[in-house]
Symmetry: C2
Subunit: 206 residues, 2 copies
């Protein structure tokens, strides 16, 4: 039986972090028959990353389509977006209907501020941990984790961790062997252990 396809919305906002977005998309992009990828932003059109390069949001929040998998990246822009009701309201509305809700790096600050992670185990970037955790104390923030799975919520640590988490999601939706195959195609050494996190220690969290 073929796995049903999933629409994936990757949220863009000004000053998003490049690898938070394109690391996961590299992995999901290996199964185009399963994952239909969409860059979505407050307005459709060009959005500049924190590093400068510009990507194009194909769809606007206001189109109000429904997505099966939400992915929220981090980046310097999250410092502004945590106070932007447009993105928080959209995330809250979408998350109610999505099968999976994911974040990379400080993207979990947006999920937290949208009220989506109350009582949920979650993690974030280890260098920005204190700031993110202060956004919402009702979240069960975990200091040492490459990524955390709690039901339909997948939250990863900083930047590169989004690739490891996305491969875990691919293993969940498709299967382990396929996820390992995708990592191999990308010549990527997948950290399959969600507890692997040398960066928590480096940043004095444990």
């Amino acid at each position: 039986m073929q796995t049903p396809s999933r629409s994936v919305a990757v949220v863009l906002f000004p000053d998003f972090e490049l690898l938070d977005v394109f690391g996961p998309l590299e992995m999901y992009g290996m199964a185009p028959e399963t994952f239909h990828l969409h860059l979505v932003a407050e307005k459709a059109g060009p959005v500049a990353s924190r590093q400068g390069p510009i990507s194009v949001a194909e769809r606007a929040f206001a189109e109000n389509r429904q997505y099966d998998l939400l992915l929220v990246p981090g980046g310097q822009g999250t410092r502004t977006e945590v106070d932007n009701p447009v993105i928080l309201d959209w995330l809250a509305a979408q998350a109610g209907r999505a099968e999976y809700v994911c974040s990379v790096c400080t993207g979990s600050a947006l999920l937290a501020r949208a009220g989506l992670l109350d009582g949920v185990r979650a993690t974030t970037n280890k260098m920005a941990f204190a700031w993110v955790a202060a956004q919402r104390e009702q979240v069960k923030w975990e200091k040492e984790a490459r990524w955390v799975e709690d039901g339909r919520f997948f939250t990863s640590s900083g930047v590169s961790a989004g690739m490891d988490m996305s491969l875990a999601m691919i293993a969940r939706i498709l299967d382990q062997q396929t996820a390992e195959q995708f990592a191999c195609w990308a010549e990527y050494e997948w950290h399959q252990d969600a507890g692997w996190d040398p960066f928590a220690r480096i940043h004095g969290l444990v």
Copy 2:
């Protein structure tokens, strides 16, 4: 003494591979005072990746600016671009003046076809090795390497290897400690050994 800044041209073409471009840009983007990043293509404007998401080339080849560091990604699009004289001529002209010329994955096929790698030690994606090597027999193709440095030419293995190579370039231009710091900020486990290459064996090359 402050390190002089470098202009970095990352070449885009239709069906480029996302992580080949944005993995390296994540790393170079951590030193904006040193690396000035530009996406450059045959025509300025939107360019669709192999995975679908669109990025914006800020500059066109015809502007004929000079860049200090060239980075050529791979992706399905290289199969077409190896026969495109516009990109090959531009690479040849630029490479004559550039301080460093780099490729990720099958991007080395374009450097090879532009005649830039004759007598140079180089590598490429391990799954596509036979196709790339057949593009130009005058290149000293290396079957087992995460990346290869030969003078001012840096060529990496497939997709993820571009991040390891780019950190090595950052260590060359800035210093080792800074490159390690950037890997840590990205929560990236940098493979610092250019000879690390389990994928050569997986794909039957050694």
